[in-house]
Symmetry: D2
Subunit: 399 residues, 4 copies
């Protein structure tokens, strides 16, 4: 069958995870008429920019374990997904389950990985890439998709050593580099390459490197494929980048900004491993120095604790100690309590829309205009959320 | 003696109050080399715009009671002013005391008003105005001031009835209107008129109407005198206007924003009177609807409690209940703890600089570019702090 | 049919309200094996005191409007009642609906009152009492109940004038007084009298006066009927009475304790009316002075705001400003976020158990040992929660 | 000269530290008539128990570095000590400086240790003990002290390996064990031994082992010398032990209690070293499981961060996630902001009073009645603050 003019495939890496499950049900809910709360592309001044219809999105993807029905039930139990939407979407989940392809496990994912996924660990990386490309091709054809996007939602991975030099050269050919790449190459790179090779944008919502390496960025630029990332900005970091400009603009001297994050979902469990938490904490920690004036005395701490009872409800408590006129000692503290998945899922829909628009405009490589969505925006120094939004508005409203 | 080329007079209404006292000592501290923390005009991108030197500012003004030395001691005791700066500024306070002119009391200021101030209540309003103009003239000459600004810092006054129609006509002559004005006319109007007549800008840091009335604004425009106001934005409202844009831009549905303010100083005591709190609460309450999309279901509450033990340390606790994707219920809460005077005083110095610059550019009437400094900016609908700062940066960097 | 040896009737005033609905479903859930979280009588040191079985409780009562099914659905939607318990209890609600008797409306309950309830407003008070007694008799016989208790859960009522002197005389006969009582007599008094006359304990979980008047207390004492009340201690006040002893015992000088309560349910809406909020605020405000040493300078404020989006989730933010050694200024602040109904319902089950035990022991009149459960315990000065619990443990473990 | 009947020596280990400095000035302030805020022995029901006069306390002690004048100035700058008390106590500090003896450094205290203290590191432990005993003798005689107490206030020390078996035997002679003790023996043991040998009580306000070892406790018991400790309970742990009983008594299921501590003083700096933080965190973490019913699923985390700008003002933010009736998810969070030294210093005065009373009653060995003052009370399982206070009240009021 020929592709449907309007259908776009969302190829999610970690499609059975909490965010993936929320994306899937969110699209169904929107089809059923629920308001598009949480979508940036739906606010005044942006909603009339001619984005792709959310109703035309079809979700599939890769995963290494789990079951879509269980994931949905978990999110009902923890008050993230409404019972009625989950009840009415059983058929959609059945169909999803049939289309899911095996994902690439992390070496440390001992046990809990299904057999087909485990098999991928045995293949040479070039063959893994070929398999991922095949998956995309098959989905496009079986689901009659005209276009698509790969969205990377896998758990935080452990911090790795530097790669061979070639990967930091924007003129290098990553397909060549892959042949001699280390066996434990970040999976995000393989998914990014599969996306570029298959001509679909790559969106990295995690702290993994995919899309950030010069060799990948250069390749995407040459191929005209948009890259969006890294690491979705949904909670504490969002608040930091929205609030720090106020301290900067009022010339208040931030002496300490301590952030304590509590999280109880799978991502939280992964971040118990200090090696996995490293990249995420680095991304969270870099935003303040970039917004606030250079102050070598500023103390800034970020920690993430796994608190199982919170499940998907990430809770951040921040304490900001600052100095005002004549040395007066002041403080601001805040507590943010929100569902990780409900905060992230609508941004995934936004990012697909943005990626498609960028592709229509032939903007290959990192899309700077999407900086407002990420903790560590690709090739961008601007972390001030409000300035990022100004950049995005201008881009979205450009002819 | 001829005026000193560099000296600018700050004519503070309520000069012995906590903010006035902090302004006075702040200028001394800056003279002594303390960093200019808290001055907006000193941040990167603004500090090189050629503002007037703070060191050239000379403080005097009106008050109805009190003693500058006691005010300073109070602010040391409550950890607002450093002991050493107060100790070294005794001579400056002595000199200030000699120059202070009697202020216009409010009719409800029973007792606690010095005799000379009380006498002003007996005079016709036109004679009161003449007296205020004389005060400005005398200061200019005795202090050898080339320029000046009247800064209105009096306690919140009770809400008044509408004035006769003429006051809402920008072509009317307020000096004519004054002849038949009600006896309890807001004092802020008299001080504004005195400033305009004497050719110095008028800065209204309180919720009083002065400067906001079309007849005053029109008069100032015709005379080429800048008006800045109303109601300094220093704490909870600052945070609201810095944070609400984040909710708007992320399309999160704010269902309730409840703000609880505690304050223990003279201003807090005045606000115990519901009639006096009215205008302030109105200013605080208007900012959210102006930033967030029209949501008739949004509940927003603001209260101010007088908590004597806090003295100058105003503490605000806000609870924001919002809805995300698929109806997920989330919350943000914050506690802001800061010194009212230490937050306000540096802004007074900024506003004088801005007023002088506006006067140099012949910008008579309300100065829209100063909106970021006020809860209820004159003739301005924009309450988003970040957009206000963009407007201010553009204005300040204009040739 | 003869009464069932084990069955106890819970006659709830306001049985279709949020607390009543949670009590009803809670008993079903406990029957189904759910753990008895939240029941004080189930903790170590108390659980083996031979209380009545919760499984033997049968719920019915009075109400002036509403529908039990709607109430249950509302509590599912707001994450108070689990969906499965509500789904499995449809038959129980059907049966409840058939047994509910019309309640006595408040004169200000314009509209929204069903016809049969409205009719009660037309009757002389003595006839209303007779009707309530009939209701109890009928339930006992139709439901085969051996014993029972009336539990007053109606919305906060507006503060009333003093009653005629007789009501404050513990030797007076309230049934005589009723004949000439004012038409707008608090409904709580009528329900209390009906309970005493029918030989069942009366539990007052609201700020209404029922049970608190000497004439009622004396009557109950003479009749050997236990009275428990007033005003359930479930949230902010519980915390106050648990925390204030720490400040007292560490000799820290509490200068201000400001409490801000937000509530979105029917009770919250009723408390929007300052006349209705009065008694509740008084109860909340009295506990601190009773625990902390006499400090005329202490400022203590309590407010309750109706924030509709919170529904049943009452949220309290308290700020405590205290002074330590050598005048050091310190603070504690807390935010309590809990479901009003889920906090109250298990205490209702506890109180019925306690009431039955007291009746078995022939303890007529106010039961002092239940003080830990109430904001304004009957005839008790002790508000320290920990001391109240010691009293309760001793009482419960007495032979 | 013969000892003064009324004079008691406070021999502080770390006498120039923040707590020591606050104790010193606090006694002077009380002599000058300041109220005894923060002293537990001054509350109703305890103040008439015939405690020693604070005015009769004379402070001296050991330290390895620093200067009493600088310490006092630091505490003025950070708003802990009032300027006037520090100004009037210059002579007292001069006299203190002359009496201070060299302290025993920790091996890791590289640099920053004065020469005389460094010399102690070269001596055999038995000679160090002899030196400490001499110090006590000399102070007693030169200051004409009738009695005294050694109070251990040194910085948290790193966690050490188990000691040889003998130390865990209450019948062993610690003076014998000392001869073959490891060179890096906790200094707290040496100070405890010196106190016991010289017949003065030993109070351990830190997480160090001194007083906790069976060999020391047995020796003290045989000698009739009171031991009080360990680890003063002044902030977050105090709150935990005051609040957890409420959750226990209301049968609310605490699923997570996460505590985040920020501290900026010398103690905070020492705790940056994970080896030093270990014992303190262990003490803080043990209290919850001891109060709350056994719940293997409860997650409880405690961390301490060094935030230099806070100086002495320790700030704790705790998040408590709990489950109520039918699984309702609720939370309590609090922020405690207090001066470490101002919280601790009055307790030191209390503990000296208690130690003297215990000695008068010939209560040698661990004083269980002082449990309410410590995170890890010697030989006591009871952590419920309110029960600890009941024990203390009973003990204090015993004849």
């Amino acid at each position: 069958m020929s592709p449907d003019v309007n259908r776009t495939g969302l190829f999610l890496v970690g499609v059975r995870g909490a965010i993936g499950t929320t994306v899937l049900h969110g699209i169904e809910a929107i089809r059923g008429g629920m308001p598009k709360i949480g979508l940036v592309t739906e606010i005044d001044g942006l909603k009339d920019c001619g984005w792709a219809d959310v109703e035309s999105f079809a979700v599939t993807g890769w995963d290494v374990c789990g079951n879509a029905h269980d994931s949905a039930e978990n999110l009902v139990r923890t008050n993230v997904l409404p019972r009625d939407i989950v009840d009415m979407s059983g058929g959609v989940r059945d169909r999803l389950e049939m289309s899911i392809a095996p994902g690439i496990p992390e070496p440390e994912d001992e046990g809990g990985v299904d057999n087909k996924s485990a098999d991928l660990l045995e293949l040479p990386l070039t063959e893994v890439l070929a398999q991922l490309r095949d998956d995309i091709c098959n989905w496009k054809s079986s689901e009659r998709l005209r276009r698509g996007a790969v969205i990377y939602l896998a758990s935080a991975e452990r911090d790795r050593d530097m790669l061979p030099d070639g990967w930091y050269d924007s003129d290098a050919d990553p397909l060549e580099l892959l042949k001699t790449a280390p066996r434990d190459l970040s999976r995000s790179i393989l998914y990014a390459l599969a996306a570029i090779c298959e001509g679909v944008p790559f969106i990295n919502f995690t702290p993994a490197p995919g899309g950030d390496l010069p060799a990948i960025a250069g390749f995407a630029r040459r191929e005209g494929i948009p890259l969006l990332g890294n690491d979705g900005k949904t909670g504490e970091t969002l608040l930091k980048t929205a609030l720090a400009p106020m301290f900067r603009d009022r010339n208040l001297n931030v002496m300490a900004w301590e952030g304590y994050n509590m999280l109880g979902n799978k991502d939280g469990a992964a971040l118990e491993d200090p090696q996995r938490a490293k990249a995420k904490l680095r991304n969270k920690d870099v935003v303040l120095p970039s917004i606030l004036p250079n102050n070598p005395m500023m103390h800034s701490g970020v920690s993430i604790n796994f608190v199982p009872s919170l499940h998907d409800w990430k809770t951040a408590m921040d304490y900001i100690h600052f100095e005002g006129f004549l040395g007066a000692q002041m403080s601001l503290q805040f507590t943010w309590h929100g569902s990780d998945s409900a905060l992230a899922a609508p941004l995934i829909l936004d990012l697909v829309r943005i990626a498609l628009r960028a592709q229509d405009r032939n903007e290959g490589g990192p899309v700077h205009a999407a900086a407002a969505f990420f903790k560590s925006p690709l090739e961008m120094e601007e972390h001030d959320f409000h300035r990022q939004m100004t950049i995005f508005r201008d881009w979205a409203n450009r002819d």
